[in-house]
Amino acid sequence: MDFTVPDVNIICMLPEILLLIFGTVLLFMEDSSERRNCLSLAAVGGILTASLLIPFYWGKNCAGFDDIIVRDDLALLFQAALLIAVFLAIVFTHYYMRHRNNLGEYLALILTATAGMNVMVMTHNLLVVFLGMEILALSLYILVGYDKTSREGIEATVKYFLLGAFSSAVFLLGIAFYYGATGRIDIAVFAPSFAIANETGSLLLTGTVLVLAGLGFKIASVPFHMWAPDTYEGAPVSVASLLSVAPKIAAFAVFLRITLAVADVHSDAVLIAIVFMSCASMIVGNFAALRQTHFIRMLAYSGIAQVGYMLIGLLGIHQGGGNTLVFYLIVYVFMNMGAFGVAIYLCAQERQDLRIDALSGLASRHPGLALAMVVFMISLAGLPPTAGFFAKFYVFKTGIEAGYLWLVLVALIMTVVSLFYYFRVIMVMYMREAAGEISITSGNFAVFSVIIGMLAFITLLLGIVPNSLVMVIAHALNVL
């Protein structure tokens, strides 16, 4: 009997293994209010170790497990973005959960989720993608409902769990159909199977649509967006910040790999699906955001709209659309986490609820914080000289080159609509004074302020000198 030892190459999974080790250690650390700093530092340490390993993998295409795991440069880029987002989420948590216990469990779950997302972005195997997705989802279900005593929190968890489980099932079913049609579960064979799809055509089509639907849920694009506003609002704000960025990056990585795989063949199904999702997300997201009075809900709808813009990048895959998508995602990490960061700062320091009106007079109380918020809002709205502008410009450019001028025009008009709600935040901060007395809790927020300042600075910097990042991304996608 033939027995070959599979090529395991444990090295290619080292960062994930380390993340899980750190996570496990966190579970066993003493969980008291005096040790809070140690816990947070340990979690940050895990993230730092994982990110420090990235340069060592760069350019090596480290592969293992019979090439199921391939740590190519694109994966590393996505992982870098993920780790930044997770790092920020941990910092936010540290300040947001100052008066709560069980920080250790919470941080351990974040690290587990990170490991799951890392796996998602570096594999071609749909089953492994599913595995990563489930590791991520299970951690997030618990994190969303972390606040066991709040009614909204429980509602958010139930919604997220039911819809999330449903979408996972849909995704899995999609893989099954796909396997049925092609006999493979590799993303890379999408293309040839589309080329020869005749008698198995409908089966393959169903599979593809189901897989895309599952991913659509993760990136919260219309029509799979219903969970997002309620979940964001009910979850702890620090979890919402993570939720709004990190799973989107991971799911977009898979999306990008699928689109790259089918790029060379005539794949109407995928393109039509993307066009529809993009157009609907932009319209629904922007118009719904107009009516929101709660800051986090507004950010949730704004996130849906942003996904619509990003999807345009996938349409221009021949014109370097992948580059634009990755650029947009990286910028999105900074600007969206920044906006959440300001909100969390207010939660932590002033015990504010997060209605938009509660931001009144922020410019007088915290000029620096308000200025940072202006940068984030302008960037999300896509006005120069911020990174958000260049990201949008870059995406629209490929969209037009790919022949989707009408879609870009829709996007541009929606950008104008979005000004209403992004600038309302600025107006409230600068042009209205706070209604009543605001109690300020004590505590040292120096590090937090510095981090928010850094985020604002990077958001501006990437808008003014985007060249090097553009080059790095182009390199990562070229070597694929």
């Binding site: 109407d268 393109l271 410019a363 007088s364 000029p367 202006v374 302008i378 006005l383 120069p384 000289p385 502008f389 260049f390 410009f393 870059y394 629209f396 450019k397 037009i400 080159e401 790919a402 022949g403 989707y404 001028l405 870009v408 025009l409 541009l412 008009i413 950008t415 104008v416 000004l419 209403f420 600038f423 600025i426 107006m427 600068y430 042009m431 985007p466 060249n467 553009v470 080059m471 182009a474």
Partner: protein, 522 residues
Amino acid sequence: MNISSLPLLSCIIVLPLIGSFIIMLCNERKQIQSVALVTSLVSFISTLVPILAFRPELTGFQFEEYQSWIHNLGISYHLGIDGLSLFLLPLTAFLTVTAVLVSWNRVAVKEKAYFISFLILETGMLGTFVAIDTFLFYVFWEAMLIPMFLVIGIWGGENRRYASIKFLIYTMAGSVFMLAAIIVMAFLNQKTGNGLSFDITRWMELAIPAHIQMWLFAAFFIAFAVKVPVFPFHTWLPDAHVEAPTAGSVILAGVLLKMGVYGMLRFCFPLFPEAVRFFTPYIMALGLAGVIYGAFLAFAQKDLKKLIAYSSISHMGLIIVGIFALNSSGIKGGIIQMVNHGLSTGALFILVGALYERKGTRDLDKMGGLAGRLPVLATFFMMVLLSSIGLPGLNGFVGEFLILLGACKFSLWVGVLAATTVILAAVYMLWMYQRVMFETDRSPEGRPLSDFSMREKIIMTPVVILILLIGVYPSFFLNRIDTCANTFLAGIYTQPAKYVQVVADNHSDRGDMRYGLHSTRR
């Protein structure tokens, strides 16, 4: 170190930005104001340097600076000026100095942010006038919006929030189509083998087929028309002007409105000559409508600021008529009138602001008999007003005369209709002056009024000197404008040797339009 090797234009742009950083570090009102004043003065002086070193006989851009910016996309940091932008730079810097002086000790809240906003605004405006790369132009063009939005929204009048968001949305809504057009232009440029570039000098080599020109022209034109504002797009202007603080109105009327006209001349004329020729009659009609409609509305206003805002619409309409007359005198008149209008309307807003400070109202019905009590203010007011009407010997006459000459050459009837502005402006302006300065005081209680202070005299004197200077010695300015005006004209009337061929081969099943471009020009 050789002084001529300095990147002059970059210095001009960056100076206000440096000033705003220094202000961030200051804490006292005195320091903040002094830094703002010094910065704006230095940058004004630096904008005068190009005038001295400018060579009027050369076509094309001078003082060029080139630096690759975003290499993969062919975006460059490319600056340069020609006769069109030559005088707009000092105008911008000059009005910023006046804006700072007007606000001296007058800002009640958040004065740090106030002066920072104005300096960043200055950077944006100067950048817009010197950018040759369209991407860079767009960045400056949009970056300008945010400080102006804040200036109106934070330090404005009663209804400021509404006015500021209206200003923002109108301008943005116009600009986004320009962004799409810019991307399409870059795409066409690349597809025709002209390389990946956003540089306008490269785009000029492109001869775009007429039917595509129409769309691109329309996209650019709407962006600029909102800014000017051309007649149906003007409704944001009265709101913005009435609510903005005095300094904001000065900059808005003095510089921001000019950007629309500047953009038309810089982009629409050289890039889409055929579309310009095609649309000229319609734009002419809009321009004339603006001239007459604006004048009649100004006539009906009781609020002084609103009156001047509507007179701006009328005057800007005249500039549009001038440049779209498509002859040398019209374009030259339009360009010089941009500077004139900036000076005189800016000054009018300062004077109205001064009146408002004294009387606490801008209502014409509550004024009257002020000439006796405020003789110095009344004198300055008269001079500026006459310049705005176009009295011979003052700057307004030069521009108006050239524009009307151009309009008459274009068509007699257009000339006649445009000329009504002379009568109408005289009617509403002089009538307004009569009601404010002469007659008897209609205000309920007679508050003691103080005449112009030293600070206000210092602000107004250079304005009046400039008004006289351009009025009596216009050839200094016109000589420098001449070459670029002729270049624009030549571009409009030259037929391209051969068009770029753009064939849309429709992959109809995919529902998208791909532009397959087959052969290049020449």
